[in-house]
Point group: C7
Amino acid sequence: MTQTDNRPLTVLNNNLGNNVIVELRYGKEYRGKLSGYDPHLNIVMEDVKEFIKGEKIREMDKALLRGDNVVYVSP
Amino acid sequence: MTQTDNRPLTVLNNNLGNNVIVELRYGKEYRGKLSGYDPHLNIVMEDVKEFIKGEKIREMDKALLRGDNVVYVSP
Amino acid sequence: MTQTDNRPLTVLNNNLGNNVIVELRYGKEYRGKLSGYDPHLNIVMEDVKEFIKGEKIREMDKALLRGDNVVYVSP
Amino acid sequence: MTQTDNRPLTVLNNNLGNNVIVELRYGKEYRGKLSGYDPHLNIVMEDVKEFIKGEKIREMDKALLRGDNVVYVSP
Amino acid sequence: MTQTDNRPLTVLNNNLGNNVIVELRYGKEYRGKLSGYDPHLNIVMEDVKEFIKGEKIREMDKALLRGDNVVYVSP
Amino acid sequence: MTQTDNRPLTVLNNNLGNNVIVELRYGKEYRGKLSGYDPHLNIVMEDVKEFIKGEKIREMDKALLRGDNVVYVSP
Amino acid sequence: MTQTDNRPLTVLNNNLGNNVIVELRYGKEYRGKLSGYDPHLNIVMEDVKEFIKGEKIREMDKALLRGDNVVYVSP
C-alpha cells in the first residue's frame, strides 16, 4: 500500500476549506474552517471556536495556531 | 545482524494499511489504521479511536497526529 | 481551494498595523498592535496590554514576544 | 584512549539482535530485542514488555519508540 | 504597512544601550541596560536587577540570558 | 586566556576511560567509566551505577545516555 | 551604539579564566572558574560549587554543564 493521498501535509492540503478539529496540548480544542498551514504544522483557521476541557471559551474570526502545540488535526 | 527491514521509518512504511496503536504523551492512545507518515513521525490514521488513561474519548474518521508527542507506535 | 492569502506568515503580514490578540502558554495574553514578526513567529507589538488568566498585569509601549511560547495569534 | 567501538550509534549497531532495556521519561521502561534504530535514537524493538514504575503494563510484538523520550538504552 | 523598523532583531538592535525589561519563564524578570544579543535571542544586559514573582533577588554587573527562556523583551 | 583543552567536547574526549559522574534531569545520576560520546552529548558509560535522589537503583554493564537530558558531566 | 564586545559568545570568551555564576533551570546554581564554552552555551567550569535553592550540594574539580538548561551566566 502506498500513502499517496495520506501524507500528513497532503491531508492538510486536501482539507483546505473544510471544517476541522485541532487539539492542542493542555486540553485546548479549536473547531472551525481550515484555511492555511505550513510545513511546521502552523495552522490558520476561520470562524473558530475555542474550547478548554470541553467548555467554550472564545469565538474568533481567524486564528493562527502554532504547530508546536498541536496534538492532532482531525478533518 | 543488519536492520534492513527494521529501520524506524521502514517499520512505518511496512505497516501502511495495518491497524496500529499510537501512544502519545500524557496517557493518550490512538487505535486505528495507519495510512500515512513523514520523517518527523507525524502520523495519519483512519477509523481512529482515542483513549485517555484507558477510557474511550472519541472516534474520528481520520486524524493527523503530530510526531513530537509520540511515545511509541506498535503495529 | 488554495490558501494564497492564508498561509501562516501571510496572515501575520496582512495584519501589520492591526490590533491582534496573542495568546502565550501559561495563560498569558497580549493585546495590541502587530508591528513586526519573523519566520520563528517572534512577534513585535505596540501599545500592548498583558493579561494573565484574564487579569490585566502590565501595559507596555512595545514588546517583542518570543515565538516559542505562542499558542495562537488572532487578528 | 579512543572510542572506536563505543560511539553511541555504534553501541546501538553492535547490539542489533540483542536484548536491551530502554528507559523513557516518565518512568517507562521497555525490555526486548533491539531490531532497528536511526540517528535520532528512534528505536525498533521486538517481543517488547512495557513497564511503568516497575509494573508490567503491556506486551507487544513490535514497537517503534520515539528517540526524544529516551533516557538511556542498556544492552 | 511594512515592518521596516519593527522586525524582532531590529527592535533589539535599536535598543542597544537602552533600559529594557526581559521576562523569562517561571516568573523571572530582569531589568537593566541591553548591551548585546544574537539571533537566538540570547541577551546580554548590564546593571541588571533580577526579580522573581515581583521580589528583587539579585543585582549583577552583567548577565548573559539564554534566549530559550525569554517570554518577552520590552524596551 | 584560551580554552584549548577546555572546549566541551574536548573535555569529554580527554576523559575517555576515566570515571565520571553524569547528572540527568529529574534527579538521576550515573557513575561509571566514560567510554564514548557524540556531539549531541549522547554518552556511553561502562560499569554504571544509577542513583535517583541519592539512592542506588540499578547497576548496568553499559548504558547509552541520551544527551538531551544531561545537566552536567563531571570528570 | 554597537555591541562589539557584548555579543553573547564574546562575553563568554572575554571571561575565560574568570569566576562566573551559572544559573540553570530548577533552581540550580554553579559558581567557579569559566574555562570553556561552545556556541550551544555548553559551559566548562573548574573548581565548581553546586547550590540548589541556595544550599551547597557538591564541589567538583571540573564540570561540563549542558547549555540547554542555562538560564543565565553572570561574570
